[in-house]
Symmetry: C2
Subunit: 644 residues, 2 copies
Amino acid sequence: MFEMRERAGLGRIGRLETPHGVVETPALMPVVNPSRLTIPPRRLREAFGVEVLMTNAYILHRGDLRERAVEEGIHKLLDFPGPVVTDSGAFQQHVYGRVDVSNEEIVRFQVEIGSDLGTALDVFSEPEDPREACEEAVQTTLVRCREAAGWRGEMGLVGTVQGGLFPDLRQESAQGLSELPVQVHAIGGVVPLMEAYRFRDLVEVIVASRKGLRPDRPVHLFGGGHPLVFGLAVLLGCDLFDSASYAKYAQDGRMITARGTTHVADLRYLACDCPACHGATPRDLREDQQRLAEHNLHASLRELREVREAIHEDRLWEHVEGRCRAHPSLLDALKTLRGHVEFLERFEKATGRHVFYTGPETIWRPVAWRFRRRVLERYRPPKAEGILILPEAARPYSRTYAPVLRRLFRRASAHALVKSVFGPVPVELDGVFPVGQSVVPRELDVEALEASEAFLQAFLRKGHFAFGLLWEGKESLEEIAAKAPGEAPVDMDLARARALADHQFGPRAADALLAGEVTFVKSKRTAKVRNILADGKHALSLRARDGLYTLKLAGGRRLHGAFQAPRLRVVVVEESAPFNREGKNVFAKFVVSADEAIRPWDEVLVVDQEDALLAVGRALMNRDEMLAFGQGVAVKVREGLAAV
Amino acid sequence: MFEMRERAGLGRIGRLETPHGVVETPALMPVVNPSRLTIPPRRLREAFGVEVLMTNAYILHRGDLRERAVEEGIHKLLDFPGPVVTDSGAFQQHVYGRVDVSNEEIVRFQVEIGSDLGTALDVFSEPEDPREACEEAVQTTLVRCREAAGWRGEMGLVGTVQGGLFPDLRQESAQGLSELPVQVHAIGGVVPLMEAYRFRDLVEVIVASRKGLRPDRPVHLFGGGHPLVFGLAVLLGCDLFDSASYAKYAQDGRMITARGTTHVADLRYLACDCPACHGATPRDLREDQQRLAEHNLHASLRELREVREAIHEDRLWEHVEGRCRAHPSLLDALKTLRGHVEFLERFEKATGRHVFYTGPETIWRPVAWRFRRRVLERYRPPKAEGILILPEAARPYSRTYAPVLRRLFRRASAHALVKSVFGPVPVELDGVFPVGQSVVPRELDVEALEASEAFLQAFLRKGHFAFGLLWEGKESLEEIAAKAPGEAPVDMDLARARALADHQFGPRAADALLAGEVTFVKSKRTAKVRNILADGKHALSLRARDGLYTLKLAGGRRLHGAFQAPRLRVVVVEESAPFNREGKNVFAKFVVSADEAIRPWDEVLVVDQEDALLAVGRALMNRDEMLAFGQGVAVKVREGLAAV
């Protein structure tokens, strides 16, 4: 029912199948009131490209259109041929304090009118609700979702996570719902947080919910309709948004943009070229509510396209860090992500395009955190006496230093390392993602400098070296290189190859992959290593793009022999094995287990349940996703054993 | 010829008059090649709202269209009825190393074809050029501009600042040009900097040039056509941009946005709703160069409207701080502004809407720097023994602390102050701009915290108090308040009034303004002081919006008596005096001198050349601007002596 196509962070571009067609996510569902259509649904589809609508079943159930909705069905009533999602009345409970409908009535009504996705009557918790009330709301919501599953028929069901501001209750609620046969999860009770710019709390709620939810179902941020939060929410794993705001804000003369809301009356210039704004003046929008609503919807849909494109271009983190400058409360929300880096890292790809430093928050991105941890845990320094520590500015993207670094490294007793904001970078790893692909300002924030120092100290505490020498730019690097003791030549290619093997595949991977006779095949144009042969067999390729290895079958065989299960393994069922052995991709539904340490885009070994090697390839999912998803590719197989 | 209408930082919304009509600035001049019109000029005007065009006189002079250009005139040749600006060939010197035309030939040619603004043949300096070469380029350019002034006839003349990367040469060049009768200044030789993302150097060049230029002429950033730099350049005082990029980039399949450039071939989604993009796919743009050029132009013009709106809404600094997250090189450029804060502050308004903290750079904004300096130089603390220092979180926008702070303050021997990132905030000044209008995240960057500590230490070193007590949140504020010695009641209204008077008008202003019997008139609704009567006369009003005073005539009289000239004065010529005395505004052309310390939006005294008080009002310019501008209002007069 839901398939992941592209990803960045916990964000994903997905395909959600419904009885009335496929929806590409992240998607915005404009909320329409059948009795008061600001923009007719057909026009939403044709002029705005809207794929899915949302409407409120509770309001419909109480209103004049109830009979017609049942007779004609919701699609005909709305004159919208695509999927329609219905809400149950939980939000009206928040607004009016109570609702006059039972769970059974409202669920059966949604089935009757032909909703594509209907919602059980969940119990809304206010942010200030005490723990007991939130606990009860969680339990009642769970019971109602379970009941609803029995009445739903062909209708997809939305199960809503509640739990107020209590992370453990949110997670519990999410776990309970994950066990039920619902198709979409919603995160409820968040509108008051967004209205009060409590984005920090919003982050805590989304993360806690996401921790408890199965990863294979789309997540709807209930009432999340302002483009201000789209990027952040998508980064944390939200796939669906609904917006009544485009019309409501227009009623108040308020204009929505990705950086906030402005009263049209205050505007002098229209910095928007959408069909509603192009050629118009602020006055035109002020005097035409429908036109303003159309702008608001265009701006919201545009930001979602921008978010999708940021996923596609692998720059979602940059996008979110940029957007979070729009308001200090969003900046606060961004800063709280640091506390969740360990969770976020599990979904973070092993590679990427580049890392642009946008502020002190950047050094806490999962890719930077992972790099630092790997240097601490996996890096085995050469047998050098001392270490020369170079400043951030000496990182290899600054071409001046690279040759000097290499010369220093060749003098075996003085190893060199760069004290970067992403952690200490041993010279052997200077081209590896994210370090080799990152761009950092020349002048660094104090916070970044302090963190950089702390990371370095953690590395030095491991006691690899008898002395450390911090180069502060007073002598030239050449002078230092001349002074460094020892002349034993180091094979730089081999040293790099070994360091990377351990860094990418884990401690001792180098011993397995690079044992025996090692041959480096270099690019004629760049003189850089492109392929590595071990005992004459092509074991590894080195990617220019991210400085990481592509694993070939010969390398896979070595790792398979050296590492015990479950390390690096994706285990498939018997019926899948022959296909994978022939080089066909591994589908998630055939995966029975996998190494917990696998991250998306990691190089992996595909094995059968007897641990016989079938293929090598690139994982597109982490373990939890492989085990949860019923659709989609888990491992893109590169070489199967039978294909050789 | 040029008039300033609205302002923020050194940025301004202006009106530039030319023979073919008025141009609103900041403006983008699309560059058109008459032999190869990507978008026809008439369409640029009608569909894009372009007010002014630029074309290259050198290329025209060498090409087939030369005769026609002379016969028909440039406006008919281009079929564009609005102003046309022409370049001279200096950029071709950069591209091809030489040009085959003399200064006289090219200037006379531009006059012949009827350019609205023509350019003397300036000498382009490359960023790597040595000092001597740059010096010569500056001198030659000056000579050529002086010559050109003799040939120009009715044509406006553009004088281009050169000087390579040498700030003193840039400033010298600018000063030399300021003395010539040219109408527009351009900053030349910057294209190589922008192409190489050397934005830090770009900032140094613009600031150095701007320091030397008269403030009443519009400044053109030559070749600055990418929206990435518009906000930053406008903030530093650039008014005109020209873009050949929209068409050139389209030829290479590159798409321009305010956050950079992307190859259309890499795109999957179009996050743009401009007329060229709406409803289109990336493929449509890839296959249609004209369409891509139209997008590029729409995106560039849109960013300029966004910048204008940011000036109008007084949030240009926020806009620029946000945009500078697009690339680490821009962030570096933003950070260098700190080094120019003293220059920037001279143009910064005395008030504003709000300050949103966007990162450690925010604490170095001119308004924050000015607030800190004033607290150090102008604040006279009460005769308290000790001082209680509260954390940033205790700032008054957090309602919890405000009553406790007030209670503390009433116990005279324990004064209270908040250690804010904008500097130490004495409780009496807690509502004053920018502190009372700023929003700061709960979690602060280390850099901001350290700066905040350094500002506090500078304040404490002044030795006002016997002891300082830092509240770290361990006791409740109420407990501390109870412990504080002394019970002498302090008149909070008077204390605030006095502190603000000194802060806004300078040391000892309180003694003058608030001598005698002081009456506070409070708002019935908010119970806040709105008006202050001194000896029964309305001396001051207190603005709710920014917590600053509006000066009334009675207050002006007191300041005039207490402060010697030139303090707070704007001196006007005799012929202006009667009008100002009747309450009419002061026009810049009638100002003969003014207090160097006056900042835009400051409350000032208008006096005649005998120092007789004529009126009080709000300055719209600083002194240099008042003396330079031939058009526009220098002081918005509130009350004239004769009107009372």
